[in-house]
Symmetry: C2
Subunit: 132 residues, 2 copies
Amino acid sequence: MSDTYGIAELAREFDVTTRTIRFYEDKGLLAPLRKGQRRVYASRDRVRLRLIMRGKRLGFSLDEIRQLIDLYDVDPSEVTQLRHFLDKIHEHKEILIGQQKDIAETLAEMERIEAQCSSLLSEKQKKRQTAN
Amino acid sequence: MSDTYGIAELAREFDVTTRTIRFYEDKGLLAPLRKGQRRVYASRDRVRLRLIMRGKRLGFSLDEIRQLIDLYDVDPSEVTQLRHFLDKIHEHKEILIGQQKDIAETLAEMERIEAQCSSLLSEKQKKRQTAN
DNA sequence: CGCCCTCTTTACGTTTACGTCAACGTCAGG
DNA sequence: CCTGACGTTGACGTAAACGTAAAGAGGGCG
């Protein structure tokens, strides 16, 4: 385990372009070390990138994603921050639970239509059989 | 039940602007009747709008959403279309199931952090108590 | 009739999330 | 030393999803 990664390496692994990774850095989502001019990514950065991709799959904006993964780095020394942090977590949980509901509904509909459609298809197949 | 709606009416109900609704029409997501120049939306259009909003909450592009809600209007006469239709459904189900997984993982993490953070907070509260 | 209000089209502006050069640095291998 | 692969910083381009402003149509009502 090398524990550090080049930009191209990460790009391959997550199937994005290097441009994309640099863009995320511009937006404050990543902050790799530098070896001279070159970016050197630690496993911590890789985790963040994984979180970013997951956030994107769930339809969150890069800005929202940044706020979220920043939560993982909150310093738990100040009580006020802790409260605010818990609020943020709760807020996001609400959204996720809403999405769960949306997905469940959609899946239910899909399966209803699917079943209806399958039976229609097998019916047509039968007709073909008897037509022979 | 009036069974028909004006554009502003729908805009209020779904908390979007009329511009947005017209935009969806431009993109082929809606096709209301016209009374003279004015748009008249039937309950069918309202259902479609609801589907659009749900799709957006799940992070799908308008293009993907259009493909999906068009599925609800497929003519089940041609077998080839039926097969293709079932493929589309299956494809989308895969995505939704992937999202379910993403959400479950994220929720799990959130709750882990939340718990950790809550205990930290109550600990601090105790210190305050004893400090009095 | 005149005014107001809603709706219409047209068109240009904006933000997000990158793509696409261009021009240059750097380092290993032949 | 030269090449080629990989990396760097700008800078400009672009597609999606609307926002916004302009200018006009049409209808109800005092």
